[in-house]
């Protein structure tokens, strides 16, 4: 597939718009979007490549939501020296799974601080060709977020709801409530209690959002790709102190 076509598909996939936008915000310096049925085959090599963009030496990873290839990814990543971490907020690499509405040719792209970067260097080019030639179209999207600094977990203050890439509402984590949102494909219901947020009901097919564990730390997200819906825990990025 041509790079141009690839971007067209990527950008026309509404789920990516909020993801790209939020990747600019969350301070995840590098986000790799990988469409492949077998991400475990390609991710370690791609990570090796993109780490050249990032001086980070951190080698722990975790999953933000259940991934259909979780075991395979754990295996191939640990073979390359990555360690599995349970706390998302302390891991250097977080992997999340997204489900694409339509199957797309296997491909990958790197977003760095909100900008799309070309990483098809000479080393990666054969991989790109191999992916395109020998692998079937897939609706499995793997998002690998790399942080250049290990962040210490910080509790969120509110949860923002993004629908079709637009922020529609922000709710305080201190108020306990349940709220439903109409989406293009149906509806999604979100519960806030005890400073945590989770999805209690969703019209989507795979219910990945429903099975995602509750989130409470700044930067954590639950994505419902079919509903084009994203929840993200945020803090007011207020001024820490004043001089002058």
């Amino acid at each position: 597939m041509e790079r141009r076509d690839f971007f067209k598909i990527m950008l026309a996939t509404p789920v990516l718009t909020p993801l790209i936008l939020s990747s600019k915000k969350t301070g995840n310096d590098l986000e790799l979007f990988l469409i492949s049925e077998e991400p475990q085959m390609f991710l370690p090599l791609l990570l090796q490549q993109i780490q050249e963009y990032s001086p980070n030496e951190g080698r722990t990873f975790t999953f933000l939501n259940p991934h259909p290839r979780e075991n395979g990814l754990k295996k191939t990543l640990s073979e390359k020296g990555w360690r599995f971490a349970r706390e998302p907020a302390t891991a250097h690499l977080t992997l999340s799974f997204g489900y694409l509405l339509n199957k797309a040719l296997p491909s990958f792209t790197l977003v760095r601080k909100g900008w799309i970067r070309d990483i098809r260097s000479r080393k990666v080019h054969p991989l790109w060709q191999e992916m395109n030639k020998n692998h079937a179209p897939s609706s499995c999207l793997t998002i690998a977020s790399l942080k250049t600094k290990t962040s210490v977990p910080s509790t969120g203050e509110f949860v923002s709801m993004y629908r079709d890439g637009q922020k529609i509402e922000a709710l305080s984590l201190e108020e306990n409530e349940e709220k439903s949102y109409k989406t293009q494909g149906g509806r999604i219901t979100v519960q806030i209690a005890g400073g945590k947020v989770w999805v209690t009901e969703s019209s989507c097919r795979h219910k990945i959002c429903l099975y995602s564990p509750p989130i409470s730390l700044a930067g954590e997200r639950i994505v419902c790709a079919p509903n084009h819906f994203l929840l993200e825990i945020e803090r007011s990025s207020s001024i820490d102190t004043v001089i002058g």
Binding site: V152, P153, R235
Partner: protein, 319 residues
């Protein structure tokens, strides 16, 4: 209310709490969290925010208080200490900035502040002749260092105000970092040092006051850096529609012209403090900054125009 999905979470919880339980059993569990406090030092409020355990916080506070008191005893306007090692050290640093700034930064301006009434707060615009005679007693180059003590000419007096606070902040923050406190800031009346990440796990967002309006000129995002601002709005009086402020040009004896505020960022708060004054006074601030490649300045000129010099730090304006 629907309960959260149980399976993965409860497993994760169990596995997460296992090492924690072991840690608790080992009897050295300490809960680190954010602590803030304010101390009154140098006649200004000193704000401290650090990430540590409650017992560590108490010790840290005492430590900072002790350092600030010590600095204050050596460098207050009434202090006449010319021979302690601390005074000699800071004098040499001040002398370096004096040389690098072509005399724009000068710790001997105390007689000028007194003449203009900034020490007694009974402000006057002195006669030109008075200023000229005072200028004979101004200039770091007139100080001699002999046998471990500073020799001043009769009538000379030191004003450590534009460097001692930065020095104190450096000492205090270094002592906290040595104690193992990995994140925090110390902000003493506008001079600041910050290190580690802020509560959002980002660099620290420091608002810089607007020199003429309420609100902010902008926000700088920094870490492992000091910052200090010198402005014509901090201490001034107005006589016959003219604003006379406290930052004197040591070469003319009059308040320095051409700028409303200068903020300097860089690794040492001491230098940020001294350089912000030097740049405020200097007509050629870029020449000074060439000598300090790790430092950056945000300058507001007398028309209110913003400009940047030296190293660039993330800066954004607020809506």
């Amino acid at each position: 209310m629907n309960a959260p999905p149980p399976s993965t979470l409860s497993l994760a919880k169990k596995l997460f709490f296992l090492p924690l339980t072991l840690f608790l059993l080992s009897g050295c569990a300490v809960k680190e969290k954010w602590h803030t406090s304010t101390l009154l030092v140098f006649d200004t409020l000193c704000e401290i925010k650090i990430f540590c355990s409650p017992s560590e916080f108490k010790a840290a506070q005492e430590n900072v208080d002790r350092i600030f008191s010590e600095i204050e005893s050596h460098f207050s306007p009434d202090a006449e200490d010319y021979s302690s090692s601390m005074v000699l050290d800071l004098y040499r640093r001040a002398l370096q900035v004096f040389t690098d700034s072509g005399g724009c930064f000068d710790i001997t301006v105390a007689p000028l502040s007194r003449l203009w009434g900034f020490l007694s707060k009974s402000y006057v615009v002195p006669a030109h002749e008075q200023i000229q005679s005072i200028l004979e007693r101004i200039g770091v180059e007139k100080i001699k260092e002999e046998k471990g003590t500073l020799i001043l000419l009769p009538g000379m007096k030191l004003d450590w105000g534009a460097i001692a606070k930065g020095f104190a902040i450096d000492l205090a923050s270094r002592s906290l970092i040595e104690r193992g406190i990995s994140r925090g800031f110390i902000n003493a009346g506008g001079d600041l040092y910050c290190w580690g990440q802020n509560p959002d796990s980002q660099d620290w967002n420091i608002g810089i006051k607007h020199p003429r309006q309420s609100g902010f000129l902008g926000i700088i995002s920094i870490s492992e850096q000091g910052a200090a601002t010198t402005g014509d709005y901090q201490r001034y009086f107005i006589k016959e529609d003219v604003r006379y402020h406290h930052v004197f040009d040591p070469r003319t004896g009059y308040p320095a012209e051409g700028k409303q505020s200068v903020t300097v960022c860089g690794p040492e708060t001491l230098l940020c403090d001294a350089l912000s004054t030097a740049l405020f006074v200097s007509k050629r601030p870029e020449r000074i900054m060439e000598k300090y490649p790790d430092y950056g300045a945000i300058i507001v000129d007398s028309e209110g125009n913003l400009s940047f010099l030296g190293k660039i730090f993330p800066f954004h304006t607020v809506d």
